[in-house]
Symmetry: C2
């Protein structure tokens, strides 16, 4: 029987795990630890504190520290777990509070840290990550005074930050090492549409470009970059620099007590979100689970995944029985009013996961041609060449791309094939969508190729 | 072997059937007949020619008459099929062209006509339906000069027409016999939200009110209505009247040759869209097929259903093999920027189809609370009390209601239950949607009730 649950980390995962454990079990003692002085806040909302689409930093705080008392959860903020003696089910903590705690169940919700790229002089002042509320606070101040920003990394966080600074009137350059931005999310041709759109709106984007060095004394003067194709080296003036080149799961403590770390560098978990150690769980950005289609190991790194895994971990730690179905990996964002949406495999991911695919690719419109105001939308759907089953999809357009993506994700979760997506009875009204939704048209193209 | 296909009716159904038959079979002779002088146009787009959201009447014409030649389809417009001798597989036609035609396969795509309600003096001038392009042309002219419009019937067409006239500056009153508008689509509480919204925007709506008589000499002066609750009789001044109280399948010719008419008043069809007579098909508003969940008879009456049934009928008539999966009945519209969306069963329909249901009902927001600009959205989902399976859903909100509906429709088509919808990995980004989509939250509420 579980009497004491300890949760390390109070991000979306840790906080959700704690609340779900409490919801399931009114008696169990729950203690949560956070190195940061804050409790749960929305990490994904951070870029929008810069642009003002999130008005106050406090708005991001989803669970004010004072609220934990009311659900009888002992929140130790500004406090770091420094040592775990798992044999004796005891941990030590330090910081605002100091002491030792006995636990029966332990949940790692330690999140991830920025993976710093091999760039010279990264340790200057005014070189930031965008991972914490404190990061965002400093960056919001930079947006007030600085003129030139360089963002290293054109992934989701990098692009969202770039848009935010641009909207605040800064001159912004994104430096992306790979041939295109957002390649963890979309195929190159889709990424190209997004880049063109962002450039039209005024963003400078250098792709296939390596950031090599940050010049300046204490603070940045410029970023030296090298075009990876023609090897041309240029200097991009910068008042400050944001490094957003991806993250790495924080697994030190888990590793130390013998928790197995998986090939994705996250803590390996089963469908109950339990690690190889009985009653030790992991969830959120520090955890690894299975990719939904192939059941191969995959890190989540998404807020949706974090809260869903955390719910399962929290309930199980509290003595319940819940399972996590695996990670499809639906990802969306909006940049200068363009929605970019992706789920399941991109072409590149399908290759890496060794799934041969057939594609349905179409350019359509969000509304019927006769109705004023429809927007272009590009849709790509991927199907397993052997089974015809939907394994991924991407949409880019000025409206209704993200919501359309949801149909594909639930389709993947329920194993639909190209014929079934073609049979989808989409909603239709002139002001909303045409009789054959672009999703259905893309399935039709693939269905023919698959001879279904 | 089929050498000659005759198709009666060139609306969305007839035109789609013809084109799909041709696509499948390059050799077969195809003749299509339309009593109207036009060929395929979007009937659902008609209200928007009044408001100007469809710019030109011609924009609605999806298949200009001159295009039929290029696909070797003989289009006889302004021509009515007057007689069928099915024993000898011959039909006679009259109008712009006159003659006799031999057929091997026959497709009824005769559509529906307005069902005139029992109102006195409905046959006045300036009392219109809104069913044909000619209706729309006349009504667009009324919008230019008239001041007061009364719309009898607060269903989809009535409400869309009312919005259109209101946007053109007219004083508009909707008279609805039932306690609420749109009850064929949503529950009363959802209808109430829509009515309140439309009233706030300036529309006058009288519910639970019977239109009794249209006064005036040749043209309307007023509509006499009676409140069905307090029996109060009032007179609503009207320059013209639109009657939109539903439609009835046109089945006279089919009936005449012995085609079976179903309990929904539509032509009864199997999954190949074939009637009880070999090689005689029906599709679109004149046809009856099965409701998806219960497999009980149901009329379609929707553009999406019409084109999907027509595709199946066209391919089968041309010698192919296609099946129609049944009617879920996804319906959407937009009134004064509010999206109203419904799929599967409403509470009332579930009762009529004898499905005991459990409800998940929530008021949520389209975006996370911390992000500026999210809109209220109300979501209701219904589940079979015995199996837990999703059987219907409704959404009302100022954005993303219709696109969210699509998830429910494909969910119904693939038999998902409340637990599966709760496990749905919706997309998440601050600018798009919160980590737990309102759909998922509604499933959670039902899941608990269902003890899943």
């Amino acid at each position: 029987m579980v009497n004491n649950i300890a949760i390390i980390g109070v991000g979306a995962a840790g906080a959700t795990a704690a609340l779900q454990a409490r919801k399931f079990n009114r008696e169990v003692a729950i203690t949560i630890f956070n190195t940061e002085p804050y409790s749960q806040y929305s990490r994904c909302g951070l870029p929008y504190t810069i642009s003002g689409k999130v008005r106050e930093f406090d708005d991001l705080v989803l669970m004010p520290p004072s609220n934990w008392d009311s659900v009888k959860i002992d929140a130790k903020l500004n406090t770091t777990v420094t040592e775990i003696d798992h044999k004796n089910r005891t941990l030590k903590y330090n910081g605002a509070e100091e002491g030792e705690l006995k636990y029966d169940a332990l949940i790692f919700a330690t999140g991830a840290r920025n993976a710093n790229p091999p760039i010279k002089d990264l340790d200057k002042e005014r070189v930031y990550g965008l991972r914490t509320l404190d990061d965002a606070k400093v960056l919001a101040k930079e947006a007030e005074n600085a003129k030139k920003a360089v963002i290293i990394g054109g992934g989701l966080v990098g692009m969202e930050a770039a848009e935010a600074f641009y909207e605040r009137g800064l001159d912004v350059t994104v430096v992306e090492f790979l041939p295109h931005c957002l390649l963890a999310m979309v195929d190159p041709d889709m990424a190209k549409i997004v880049e063109d759109h962002c450039r039209e709106h005024g963003l400078k984007i250098l792709t296939n470009t390596a950031a090599q060095e940050i010049t300046g004394d204490k603070t940045p003067k410029a970023v030296i970059v090298k075009n990876r194709e023609n090897e041309e080296v240029t200097e991009i003036p910068a008042d400050f620099v944001v490094v957003a080149t991806g993250v790495r799961a924080i697994t030190d403590l888990a590793d130390y007590i013998g928790v197995e770390i998986g090939p994705s560098h996250g803590i390996k978990t089963d469908e109950r979100m339990m690690t190889n150690l009985e009653n030790v769980y992991a969830c959120g950005d520090c955890a690894e689970n299975v990719e939904f289609i192939t059941r191969k190991p995959m890190a989540g790194g998404l807020g949706t995944i974090a809260v869903r895994q955390a719910r399962v971990a929290g309930i199980n730690a509290a003595g319940g029985e819940a399972t996590f179905p695996g990670i499809v990996g639906a990802k969306v964002t909006k940049l200068f009013d363009m929605e970019i949406a992706s789920t399941g495999f991109t072409a590149d991911m399908a290759k890496r996961f060794e799934i041969p695919v057939v594609k349905g690719s179409i350019k359509g419109s969000t509304k019927p041609p006769y109705y004023v105001g429809g927007k272009d939308i590009k849709v790509k759907t991927y199907y397993n060449k052997e089974t015809g089953k939907l394994v991924g999809g991407q949409l880019v357009g000025l409206e209704d791309a993200a919501m359309r993506l949801n149909v594909l994700t639930i389709g993947i979760q329920h194993g639909i094939d190209a014929a079934a997506l073609f049979d989808f009875e989409n909603c239709y009204a002139p002001a909303i969508c045409d009789t054959w939704d672009p999703l259905v048209t893309s399935a039709d193209a693939a269905r023919r190729r698959l001879k279904m």
